[in-house]
Structures are given as structure tokens and as C-alpha cells.
């Protein structure tokens, strides 16, 4: 059998393949390297996929995904299964690292006069929106929202922009930016709850 993105699992790793996420993280907390190997194989494609979608740059995405998996290993002992599923915990680590990388890459801070010079547009956020809205899953998830809420959520979720930054990008008051994020999230909560009930 061919295992893309990795090596042929050893016999004990193969036994671990059926183990739950929580047990793997517990194994990692106990510094069990086989658990880590299985965990990495199980999650590398999701972590890399998220980083690639957010960053649009395979080399940077690779660094971020690698760092996220290493941090999961280092912080496995503080993982609390009561707070969040393993996947959410790991993907949140990866997202936060990707946002840090994006913030570093935004060499020009979103200063008001800079925006004015550009005639109100902001190339980085335009590009960000363009790329994010080409991310198929995200596109579908946000399809039901009014466009201004969709934009606010993409900027906040996929790019880590704060409400104040979104206000400057969209040239709207801070309160309006906060309301768009809040309303968008509230609508998603209702629609996701509806899907779960079905």
C-alpha cells in the first residue's frame, strides 16, 4: 500500500491507526513517539490544507503546518478534551500561526493616510478576499450571508483582521464592523444548528 505524504507505518503504528484522537493526544502528553507519528499522519493534510488556503503560499504553509504539529506535541499535556475536539484544537493552533505569518507579511500597516493614498482600496485585503472566496469550503459555508457580513467574516476568520482594521478597510465605523461580524456569526450559528438537527 502506498501512503502518500509519509512512510509505511510500522506494525505498532498500524495498531494505533484505529485509536481515537483523544487517546493519541494523551499518548503524546506521555511522550509516546508512536502516538505522535500516527497523529501527524492523521492530521498533516488537514493542517497543511488550512495553512495553504489561508496563506496561498506552499513554502510558508509548510513552515506553518510543521510548526503547528510540533506545538501540538509540545503542548499535548495541556489539551483539555472537555473544552474542544482535538481537530479544533489543532486547527486553531495552525490558524493562529498562519495569522501571525499574515500579519508579518502585511508590511504596510493599515494606516488611514496610506489607505487614502490608495484611493480607499487596500490591495492586501482585496487579494485576501479574492483568495478566500476561492476557497471552496469557505465559499459554501458563507454563501447564505449578506455580502457585507460575508466579507467581514472572511477578513476576521481567514486573515485575522480585527474589527477596527475591518472598519478601516471597508471605510465603515468600528461599531458597524463589529455588528457585521456579530450578525454573521449569529446567522451561521443558527444555520449550523439547523444542519445538526436535520
Amino acid at each position: 500500500m502506498r501512503v502518500v505524504g509519509g512512510d509505511h507505518p510500522s506494525r505498532s503504528a498500524r495498531r494505533l491507526a484505529a485509536v481515537s484522537d483523544e487517546a493519541l493526544v494523551a499518548g503524546m502528553a506521555a511522550r509516546d513517539e508512536q502516538s505522535a507519528a500516527v497523529f501527524v499522519r492523521r492530521y498533516e493534510r488537514r493542517v497543511f490544507g488550512l495553512a495553504l488556503a489561508m496563506l496561498g503560499d506552499a513554502a510558508l504553509a509548510q513552515d506553518v503546518a510543521q510548526e503547528a504539529l510540533v506545538r501540538a506535541w509540545r503542548h499535548a499535556a495541556v489539551f483539555d478534551p472537555a473544552r474542544a475536539p482535538v481537530a479544533s484544537w489543532l486547527l486553531t493552533i495552525a490558524r493562529n500561526l498562519a495569522i501571525d505569518a499574515l500579519r508579518l507579511r502585511r508590511s504596510v500597516p493599515l494606516a488611514g493616510d496610506e489607505l487614502a493614498r490608495l484611493g480607499g482600496g487596500d490591495r492586501e485585503s482585496d487579494r485576501a478576499l479574492d483568495v478566500a472566496l476561492s476557497i471552496p469550503g469557505l465559499h459554501a459555508a458563507l454563501a447564505g450571508l449578506p455580502p457585507e457580513q460575508r466579507r467581514a467574516l472572511v477578513l476576521a476568520h481567514a486573515y485575522g483582521y480585527t474589527a477596527a482594521e475591518i472598519g478601516r478597510i471597508e471605510q465603515i465605523p468600528l461599531g458597524t464592523a463589529k455588528t457585521r461580524i456579530r450578525s454573521g456569526m449569529a446567522k451561521l450559528r443558527v444555520s449550523m444548528a439547523g444542519e445538526a438537527d436535520r
Binding site: G56, A58, G137, K178
Partner: protein, 239 residues
């Protein structure tokens, strides 16, 4: 204790309600974040609301497609955490095996994604102001087309095509049999067929980005062929 409405600097449930979505998305910063967190710690109602919004934020993270990391990725991670696992004596063999791997999608994707990013930047630079609005409109107006990938009437993935001067294709396969190499071929509006790349499926799954020749024009369809040229699945953009 709930509804700590006016204590601690006058930050109450109303203020929290305005901040919780940002807190759940991880974009609340500094003092605002500290105030919201302090409130949630003492207010059960707001803590519950935050949990629900946190689940929404988690869902948004979960919608992203998987992608194959570049060759050697897993080995590098495991080496960093000291879990290379199979023993030093086997490392040489592993390295050889990694080197011997055919150029995978991830490698192609790296080059293509760069091209895609360049294309998007170029497009936005040259675009009229209204372009941002159209970029968030549904798929067709943003230049992104989607077609279901089907094998013998069964859904086995999706193909996304993006036009413009540097067109690209994203192929997501889930449900073809086995671990094998496949090729992706597109048919343009004139009926010409172009092979755009070959990729590996792992347990019938895989997702890749590939660039298309600029001359490709509007696509009629895309198809996935097996090692011996047999068509395994196809997606139709326009009949």
C-alpha cells in the same frame, strides 16, 4: 454567579454580547479581550454564548480542503519532535524512498499557487473599484466555476476552475478506488483535450491545484484517467 452587569469597570452582558463573536474568532485584542474574558469567567450566560460561537468558529476551520504537504514534510516534523520512529538504521532507506517518489501534486501546487497569487494581485491592481464587490458575489461572477466529479453516476469529488490570464484548476477527489497514479485532462470549448498533470490518490482521496495553459479558454469538462488511460471520473462545466 451570573450577569455581572456593571461591576469591574462597568463591563456587562451588553458589552460582552458585542464582543463575543470577535473573541470566538480570536480577533479581539488587548484590553478589550481581557475585559471580555474576565466577564465570561463570571457570567454563565455569556460563557454559554461563547461556547456556541466557538463551535461556529471551529466549523469555519473545518471547511477547508485537505492538501498533500510537500515530500519529506512528515519526516521533518517527526525529526523535530524526536519521533522519527523507525530507527536510525532505516533512515537511509526512507530518504531514498522519499527521493524516489515521483514529483507529486504538492510540488506542482507550490509553483501554481505562486502563479495564482500573482494573478490575483495583478487582477486586483488593474481592477476597477467594484471588483471587490464582485469578488464576494457567488461563484460565477468571481470567475470561479464548480463542477461535480462523477464516476459511473456516483459523486466522487469536485473540480473548480478559475479563469483569467493565469487560469487554474483545483481538483478534489474522494471516493475513487485505491492508491494509484492518475492523470487529469481538460477539454476546452473547441473540444481540444490537454493533459494538465498526474497525481497520486491515497486511499482514493487527493486534492491538487494545477495551472492551465492560458490558451485553455472556457472549459467544457475535466476528466481523471487511470494509469492505462481508462477514464475513471469526469466533471462537466458546460455540455
Amino acid at each position: 454567579m451570573t450577569a455581572d452587569r456593571t461591576a469591574a469597570g462597568g463591563y456587562g452582558c451588553g458589552d460582552a454580547a458585542a464582543d463575543l463573536a470577535e473573541l470566538a474568532l480570536g480577533v479581539l485584542t488587548g484590553e478589550e479581550r481581557a475585559r471580555a474574558v474576565a466577564h465570561v469567567e463570571v457570567c454563565e450566560a455569556c460563557a454559554t454564548a461563547l461556547t456556541q460561537l466557538g463551535a461556529v468558529a471551529d466549523q469555519l476551520l473545518a471547511v477547508h480542503l485537505e492538501a498533500d504537504p510537500p515530500p519529506g514534510f512528515e519526516r521533518r516534523v517527526l525529526e523535530r519532535i524526536g519521533a522519527a520512529g523507525e530507527g536510525a538504521s532505516r533512515r537511509g532507506e526512507r530518504r531514498r524512498r522519499l527521493r524516489a517518489r515521483p514529483v507529486t501534486v504538492a510540488t506542482c501546487a507550490a509553483a501554481v499557487v505562486t502563479a495564482v497569487a500573482g494573478f490575483l494581485v495583478g487582477r486586483v491592481w488593474g481592477a476597477p473599484r467594484g471588483a471587490v464587490a464582485s469578488a464576494v458575489a457567488p461563484s460565477r461572477s468571481s470567475g470561479l466555476e464548480v463542477a461535480g466529479l462523477r464516476a459511473a453516476g456516483r459523486a466522487v469529488g469536485e473540480v473548480y476552475a478559475h479563469g483569467g490570464p493565469h487560469p487554474w484548476l483545483l481538483v478534489a477527489v474522494d471516493g475513487l478506488p485505491g492508491d494509484s497514479s492518475v492523470t487529469c485532462e481538460v477539454i476546452d470549448e473547441h473540444g481540444r483535450s490537454v493533459v494538465v498533470g498526474s497525481f497520486w490518490l491515497a486511499s482514493g482521496r487527493g486534492s491538487w491545484v494545477v495551472s492551465l495553459p492560458p490558451s485553455a479558454g472556457a472549459l467544457r469538462s475535466a476528466r481523471i484517467a487511470g494509469a492505462r488511460g481508462a477514464i475513471l471520473a469526469s466533471a462537466t462545466f458546460r455540455p
